[in-house]
């Protein structure tokens, strides 16, 4: 009896773990008219840090962030940019005060992000849920254990 319970418990926790492992946490979206079908986390990092201003297909990119402190942004920072807010502040202070670049604009929610991306041909953003609009498409999903790169 006890043994069976133990097996059940282990099995259950393994299952939970397995499903958590595959769980999609971030959906990276671009405008539906963008010819890109996929983006790598590396390319996303370069786009969001404005190291490059164009997608691989040559289209100019308009990244949009979510609010500082939001779950989406925290995940994006961790999984894709692989930097915390502190390191990002350090990065942007160099860009801003040398008149180079400023951080991408902010959309305050998933739906704002979707709207922005659907209305900007070069828009690229991230959501914590599946997009609802057919004006955008998912080019990368970030999973819990998938890591940034």
């Amino acid at each position: 009896m006890l043994k069976r319970l133990l097996v059940f418990l282990i099995g259950f926790s393994l299952m939970t773990f397995a499903s958590a492992q595959g769980q999609v946490e971030l959906y990276v979206i671009v405008n539906a008219n963008n010819s890109l079908d996929s983006l790598s986390a590396d390319q996303l990092e370069r786009l969001f840090l404005l190291k490059t201003k164009r997608f691989e297909n040559g289209e100019s990119a308009e990244p949009v962030n979510q609010s500082e402190g939001s779950k989406a942004r925290e995940l994006f920072n961790e999984k894709v940019l692989q930097r915390n807010e502190q390191q990002l502040k350090y990065y942007w202070s160099r860009k801003m005060f040398s008149g180079s670049d400023k951080p991408p604009p902010i959309a305050v929610s998933n739906s704002d992000t979707e709207t922005f991306v659907s209305e900007h041909p070069g828009g690229v953003g991230y959501l914590t849920r599946q997009p609802q609009s057919d004006q955008v498409k998912v080019v990368l999903t970030v999973k819990r254990q998938a890591g940034g790169r």
């Binding site: 590396d42 370069r46 190291k51 490059t52 201003k53 164009r54 100019s60 990119a61 949009v64 692989q82 930097r83 807010e85 502190q86 390191q87 502040k89 350090y90 202070s93 160099r94 801003m96 005060f97 040398s98 008149g99 180079s100 400023k102 604009p105 902010i106 959309a107 305050v108 929610s109 739906s111 704002d112 992000t113 979707e114 709207t115 922005f116 209305e119």
Partner: protein, 534 residues
């Protein structure tokens, strides 16, 4: 709702209350209250419209800023390190405060303004003031007042938060013409495979800034210049290379104004009875000619001449042997004066070339930064090469770091080798008083030799420090440095008396009251800084 793009953390908020006020009231519209209210209502309706949110940014002013409060102290009583640190603790000399305003005027046009107050005494200066036009998102032209990207950190030297040290390595950034300028730059971003590049071409003029070492302004200048900079980032690595070429017009240099009179004397016209004519304050040459040497024939024209006349005229044959020795001393003296007469004026039209290579790697844990730079200015200025390597290791909010830096003078500058005047010991022994005359001459040469050594940089510096980021937007740093000067160079530890002399603060004192201390062999110092951005 309204989303201001001011980046203000709670901590800096506490510090910069006044700035916050500016920030929240920053955008100024010429519109009535009613219009505003109805607009707000409309905005609420369209609350979730991201487009609105972004377009709202157009025409608004974003305010950001930085503060770096720096303090420090060195263990040397006689010198002043880059003219800002002495043996007394100070917090004012290296501190800076800046405010930046950015405004998006249209989709492709924006304006920026950066105000800076430094040292708590200079007043406020415009560091940046430009219009930017984006032909493409990756091709932008700026015009106005800009800062030249001479070396890796040149564009954000004032923003302590943006780099690891409490103060940037002076071995590379200690004395440079790279400051703000009026001109243009064209920047282009592009990628080659996984590497992202930025190429900047710039050209302009600069006239309202003095060349300075720390806070010691040593000459006025007007310059025209052009340069090219390439930055490449790949993975965790950044590489950069820059070259720029300057044409300088130097005027009113401290060397000419305050040191050359030590050689040539200075003629002043007091215009006060009974001194209606010119009054000549003697320099080294006058002193050596008129007091020591004389013209060789006229009695009373100089000490050596008088002695020659005396010994030729007296009946003592024992003294005759000294006559040729005295004659030789006159020519020896003249020969020793020659290098002093060759000290060139610093006020000249000249050119300079600057070259720099930079590297950094940052994987979030380890930080490595390194630069190699070379600056060449035709003429009296030292041609120097410098560099540094920083290695830091982050754990949590702490980053201890080690920095090794060096600067040395290369090639010949036009400054002749100066040595103290030497008297013939035979004469000094035989004729009482001659030794004192030689010492008198060296009261003049002391300042000149010190100035020459100050124009030769030979220094290695080892720094051990820690950066602590207790909150986003706030960094506190403490560092200790050990600077080693070689070959009789003052390095960056200049004697206080020389600085006073060059700053013209020695009036009311005669030259023999100014004794300039010799170079320190090493200097140990500490620095603290509190850096914020908001």
């Amino acid at each position: 709702m309204l989303k201001r793009v001011c980046m203000i953390s709670s901590l800096s908020r506490a510090v910069g209350l006044a700035m916050i006020g500016l920030c929240w009231s920053g955008p100024v519209w010429a519109e009535s209250l009613e219009e505003r209210v109805s607009q707000l209502e409309k905005q609420q309706e369209r609350q979730s419209n991201a487009l609105e949110l972004v377009s709202e940014m157009a025409g608004k002013v974003e305010v950001s800023g930085f503060v770096s409060i720096r303090g420090g102290q060195i263990d040397s009583e006689e010198t002043s390190y880059v003219t800002t640190l002495t043996d007394e603790w100070t917090f004012s000399e290296e501190s800076v405060f800046g405010l930046q305003f950015n405004s998006t005027l249209s989709e492709s046009m924006s304006a920026s303004l950066q105000l800076k107050a430094s040292g708590l005494r200079d007043g406020v200066e415009f560091e940046w003031a430009y219009l930017e036009y984006a032909f493409q998102p990756d091709l932008k032209l700026r015009a106005g007042r800009l800062r030249a990207p001479g070396y890796m950190l040149s564009e954000y030297l004032d923003v302590g938060y943006a780099y690891p040290w409490a103060q940037v390595p002076y071995e590379v950034y200690g004395w440079l013409p790279f400051n703000r300028y009026e001109g243009l730059d064209l920047r282009h971003w592009f990628s080659v495979g996984d590497a992202d590049l930025r190429v900047t071409a710039y050209a302009g003029t600069s006239s309202d800034q003095k060349l300075r070492l720390g806070n010691f302004e040593y000459t006025d200048q007007t310059s025209r210049f052009a340069g090219l900079e390439v930055q490449m980032t790949y993975d965790i690595y950044t590489f950069r290379a820059g070259y720029s070429r300057y044409r300088f017009e130097l005027t009113g240099s401290a060397l000419d104004v305050y040191l050359l009179p030590l050689v040539n004397g200075v003629t002043i016209v007091p215009g006060i009875e009974p001194y209606v004519g010119e009054v000549k304050v003697p320099g080294l040459i006058d002193y050596a000619d008129d007091v020591m040497s004389g013209d060789g024939v006229t009695p009373g024209s100089g000490f050596l001449t008088d002695m020659i006349l005396l010994f030729s005229g007296d009946a003592d044959p024992a003294n005759d042997a000294l006559i040729p020795v005295l004659e030789n001393e006159r020519s020896a003296l003249a020969a020793q004066l020659q290098p002093y007469q060759q000290i060139p004026s610093m006020n000249e039209d000249t050119y300079g070339e600057f070259f720099g290579l930079g590297f950094s790697a940052d994987n979030g844990e380890y930080l490595i930064m390194a630069e190699l730079t070379s600056s060449y200015i035709e003429g009296v200025f030292p041609d120097v090469e410098g560099g540094y390597v920083l290695v830091g290791y982050r754990f949590g909010n702490w980053m201890p770091y080690v920095n090794v830096a060096t600067v040395y003078t290369v090639g010949n500058n036009d400054f002749p080798a100066l040595v103290p005047i030497q008297g013939n010991p035979v004469i000094e022994a035989a004729i009482p008083g001659y030794g004192q005359l030689v010492e008198g001459a060296n009261l003049f040469t002391g300042g000149l030799i010190a100035a020459m050594n100050a124009l030769r940089l030979e220094q290695d510096t080892y720094t051990l420090g820690v950066r602590w980021d207790p909150a986003v937007s706030l960094a506190i740093k403490a560092e200790m440095f050990y600077a080693n000067m070689s070959d009789g160079s003052y390095g960056f530890a200049l004697p206080k008396q020389l600085l006073e002399l060059a700053a013209g603060n020695s009036s009311g004192r005669s030259v023999d009251e100014i004794t300039i201390s010799s170079p320190e062999e090493n200097v140990t110092g500490v620095r603290l800084s509190i850096d914020m951005v908001f």
